[in-house]
């Protein structure tokens, strides 16, 4: 199918910084309908092509009606925090059917259980966003978008690339057609679970990376964190049924490098400020939204009897939630028995 010859609009749900970046990229290839809950933002986008100080492409039209997104667009990109995902799907489901294609850009996990201290989760109680879409709506053709895509850099029109993953080749192909441009490359993958987990799990490594910066450490320490962090993520992913393949690509190592180096990353900033002595509640209040990495940390730790060792997650959890001293934590990690290098490649 050639999208250029159709009158379809691309749908984007969520007008946060990443949602807007995606809407602007899509707008280079066609009309875009962007959903926001905020009427002021809608008017500003429609009248001035501005959202706060961000420039919005002329092809983007904003709406506060979920129904019109589902009616006017068959290809929809939900780009919202994982905390709001279920609520969104419940509201959207009545308008969706099997003809829709949903490619989400949300790097988080969901569990219907209330997250608290010492909670124990079963594998069946933790959902990726694509699993949630399949569970809560009549949509079958789902995909996800993951990779080193820091919104601020995308909005400055810097070159970047992403991965679209789906079991359906047509979802990948249509997503590529919709997003590709001279400054944005789109790779495809059939490893949906792997790509989703790569995008989700890297968040807590980014918190640790922020801590290293906060402590004034340099690149040796960070390189150690990234490589061994990735090994840990691969072990977790394998235990959850994914393969290592996605982790060696853009959505894995690519995203990990970007978020571990960027103080634009929310997760990174959480770590940085923790190392500077602030406590979590303060930090969350300053950021204005939850960093996904904090939630991921709780979920990964509560799944621990699924046969993986996750020393980094374990110690980070203690630091973030139990006021465990960071220096001691790093000491413990350094003493953790060193395995064979790159042992995850068989």
């Amino acid at each position: 199918m050639d999208l250029k010859n159709t009158s379809h609009k691309f749908g984007v749900i969520g007008a946060g910084s990443f949602g807007i970046a995606i809407a602007n990229l899509l707008a280079e290839n066609g009309k875009v309908l962007l959903y926001t809950r905020n009427e002021e933002q809608r008017d500003s986008i429609n009248q001035k092509h501005l959202s706060r100080d961000l420039k919005i492409h002329e092809n983007v039209e904003a709406t506060t009606e979920l129904k019109s997104i589902a009616e006017e667009c068959f290809l929809i990109f939900p780009i919202i925090p994982s905390d709001n995902f279920v609520e969104l799907l419940d509201a959207l489901a009545p308008y969706l059917n099997a003809s829709h294609i949903l490619i989400h850009g949300t790097k988080g996990l969901y569990t219907p259980k209330k997250l608290g201290k010492d909670i124990q989760l079963k594998k069946q109680e933790v959902f990726t966003m694509s699993e949630l879409i399949k569970l809560k709506t009549g949509v079958v053709r789902v995909g996800c978008l993951a990779g080193p895509n820091l919104a601020s850099e995308l909005s400055e029109l810097q070159p970047a690339a992403t991965v679209i993953a789906s079991s359906f080749n047509e979802v990948i192909e249509i997503g590529q057609q919709a997003l590709r441009s001279t400054r944005f490359q789109v790779y495809g993958s059939n490893e949906l679970l792997g790509v989703e987990l790569a995008g989700v799990l890297k968040n807590y490594v980014a918190i640790a990376s922020g801590m290293l910066t906060g402590l004034g450490y340099g690149e040796n320490a960070r390189a150690l964190l990234i490589t061994r962090g990735m090994a840990e993520l691969i072990h977790i992913a394998k235990a959850l049924g994914a393969s290592e393949r996605a982790f060696l690509g853009l959505a894995g190592i690519g995203d990990l490098i970007a978020t571990c180096h960027s103080n634009k990353s929310r997760n990174f900033r959480v770590g940085l400020q923790l190392a500077q002595g602030k406590n979590l509640d303060q930090i969350i209040e300053d950021l204005g939204e939850v960093a996904e990495g904090v939630k991921t940390l709780i979920i990964i730790r509560s799944l621990q009897n699924y046969g993986y060792k996750a020393p980094l997650a374990e110690i980070l959890y203690k630091i973030v939630f139990e006021n465990f001293p960071i220096h001691k934590g790093i000491g413990l990690l350094m003493r953790f028995s060193a395995e064979k290098d790159a042992e995850y490649i068989v």
């Binding site: 199918m1 379809h8 068959f74 099997a98 003809s99 709506t137 009549g138 079958v140 359906f168």
Partner: protein
């Protein structure tokens, strides 16, 4: 969803006039049907082999494989004229070899391809003879009924079985009225579990008992060797599959045969596991090739008609349960040979020819202490439930227009990769239903518990070592056995309450009775008893491998964790 019914009599046929049955019409239209099949197959193959070179190469490869099959793996069913046919094809291929001109070469190759496909078609094609079917309708229940009565020790009624008995013993349950209604509204695909060679006659009989028209189904060509059975099967609508043939044109032809039969409204029967379950476990992975033809047929129906008038296809999983499987020993040996590589050497399947199969059928029904056949609720080809009228309802309760699954934007598109993902989703749903509609019998529980207890006793052995333990070293204390049977029974009843499986009425009763009944029926036929009560009053076994086979039937529910 319709309530489950228990069938206690033969139901009136949904379509009383056999000449109105889709399978009969298909058989009457054989010529145009085969033409359509050959054309569709040719089109698909030419899409794959787009020029003279690739097509010519494929033809040569087919010839090579066929020659190999005839010389290296000859079967009795191979017809003598086959050799002549392939020699003739060889001669023609050699002539094409010498043609220089591309276009002409391609043209000649296409002719040869059609000739081969036509030859295959004539071999595969099923027939349907109402007369023969009526005979089978009378003979089969009589055989089943008479022999089941014998086994019950009711010799007085040898020639005049109380007809009610058959139905009681067969224990057929499920939303039968729903399925009957759907067979009028669309095309029904029945997909049973597969443990024994007697599954096909059993399911054939059951389809007749519940009043559905006969179904087309593919039977291994090795079953067509003995005169009577061969003609019988063929005239009852079975088409022939040769599992030795793996060449692309043949496989493509089979798929198109099935697809087009379905689009022409022929209700069909697939064993989606492909072959009998060798481990004794309920099929976990299905063969998606044939299943995919249901999806493809649905897409074609929607392309040719609109959503309202297009014939809908309904998939009905069925779980067949027997207390014992005659071929258990050879099946489990094959399974161990495949899984354990060199550790076990496969024994030959004793029931591979039709004569032996006939003997098997007779033996099974002679000794048969009853069976259980549960029909699952019907689904569309995407795994959605369907209501009484055939309307698809998705898992969040919305009415579904199935055309949407094939839409990309405003147009319905053909995308084989998409179809394959849908087919694997359907496969997963079928496996879920197999597990949920599996009826746990007393013999399943006793063999499961006994084998798990033996495994716990010899914890440090792997499965292959375990299976080699001399059986006289094995004894399970009867009190421990009773206790664990009771524990597992309770867990099974919990699973039943959650809708995760079905149970036989007996399981709600007394534990001692369950054990007695289970052990007795597990050993009805086997020369070496999988389970018995020894002189000390404890449980022992004479055949650990067969016990393992029966034990596997309850895998997939996490019950084994109890013994960890």
């Amino acid at each position: 969803m319709q309530e489950s019914q228990k069938i206690d009599r033969r139901l009136d046929p949904v379509i009383p006039d056999i000449t109105e049955w889709p399978i009969y019409k298909l058989s009457q239209d054989k010529e145009s049907f085969l033409k359509e099949v050959v054309k569709a197959t040719t089109d698909k193959l030419l899409n794959k082999f787009k020029d003279a070179n690739s097509l010519h190469g494929e033809l040569k490869s087919v010839l090579y494989q066929e020659k190999n099959r005839l010389t290296k793996e000859p079967w009795k069913s191979d017809k003598p004229e086959e050799r002549i046919f392939w020699s003739e094809i060889k001669r023609k291929i050699l002539i094409v070899d010498s043609i220089e001109e591309e276009d002409k070469k391609f043209k000649e190759d296409k002719k040869i391809l059609k000739e081969i496909l036509h030859f295959y078609c004539l071999e595969i094609v099923a027939n349907f003879e109402p007369k023969k079917y009526r005979v089978a309708q009378k003979v089969l229940p009589f055989l089943f009924g008479r022999l089941m009565n014998v086994s019950a020790g009711n010799k007085k009624n040898f020639f005049f079985p109380a007809s009610k008995n058959i139905y009681e013993k067969m224990n057929i349950t499920g939303p039968i009225d729903h399925i009957r209604n759907l067979s009028k509204k669309g095309t029904v695909i029945v997909v049973p579990t597969h443990f024994s060679n007697i599954d096909s006659p059993t399911i054939g009989l059951i389809i007749d008992i519940i009043g559905l028209p006969a179904m087309t189904y593919g039977a291994g060509i090795n079953l067509f060797t003995i005169g009577i059975l061969s003609r019988w099967l063929n005239d009852l609508g079975a088409y022939k599959l040769d599992r030795r043939r793996k060449n692309t044109p043949y496989l493509e032809l089979l798929k198109n045969y099935s697809t087009i039969a379905i689009t022409r409204g022929a209700h069909s029967l697939f064993f989606p596991g492909g072959t009998r379950s060798r481990s004794g476990q309920i099929e976990k992975k299905l063969k998606l090739g044939l299943l995919g033809t249901a999806l493809e047929a649905q897409r074609q129906n929607l392309l040719n008609f609109n959503e309202e008038t297009a014939k809908k296809i309904f998939v009905v999983p069925v779980v067949l349960n027997y207390h014992f499987v005659m071929e258990a020993a050879s099946l489990i040996n094959q399974h161990l040979a495949i899984e354990g590589k060199e550790q076990f050497i496969a024994e030959k399947d004793d029931y591979s020819t039709s004569y032996k199969l006939l003997k098997l059928i007779l033996k099974v029904i002679t000794a048969n202490p009853g069976m259980s056949i549960s029909f699952a609720s019907p689904m569309d080809v995407f795994g959605n439930e369907v209501d009484f009228e055939g309307q698809s309802i998705n898992k969040i309760g919305q009415k579904v227009q199935i055309k949407n699954y094939f839409m990309l934007g405003d147009t319905m598109t053909e995308d084989l990769q998409r179809d394959s993902v849908y087919t694997s989703i359907l496969g997963e749903r079928i496996v879920e239903k197999f597990l949920a509609y599996n009826t746990v019998l007393s013999s399943h529980i006793v063999s499961f518990v006994a084998f798990e207890l033996i495994g716990r006793e010899f914890k440090n052995l792997d499965i292959y070592q375990l299976l080699r333990i001399p059986t006289d070293e094995i004894e399970i204390d009867i009190e421990e056995f009773k206790m664990e049977v009771n524990n597992i029974r309770e867990k099974i009843i919990d699973l039943y309450a959650e809708g995760k499986l079905k149970i036989h009425e007996r399981l709600k009763g007394d534990t001692d009775e369950i054990i007695k009944h289970g052990i007795k029926n597990l050993g009805v036929y086997h020369a070496q008893m999988p389970l018995e009560v020894n002189n000390n009053g404890n449980i022992s076994t004479q055949d650990l491998k067969v016990l393992y086979f029966y034990h596997n039937r309850l895998l997939g529910y996490g019950l084994e964790k109890h013994f960890a």
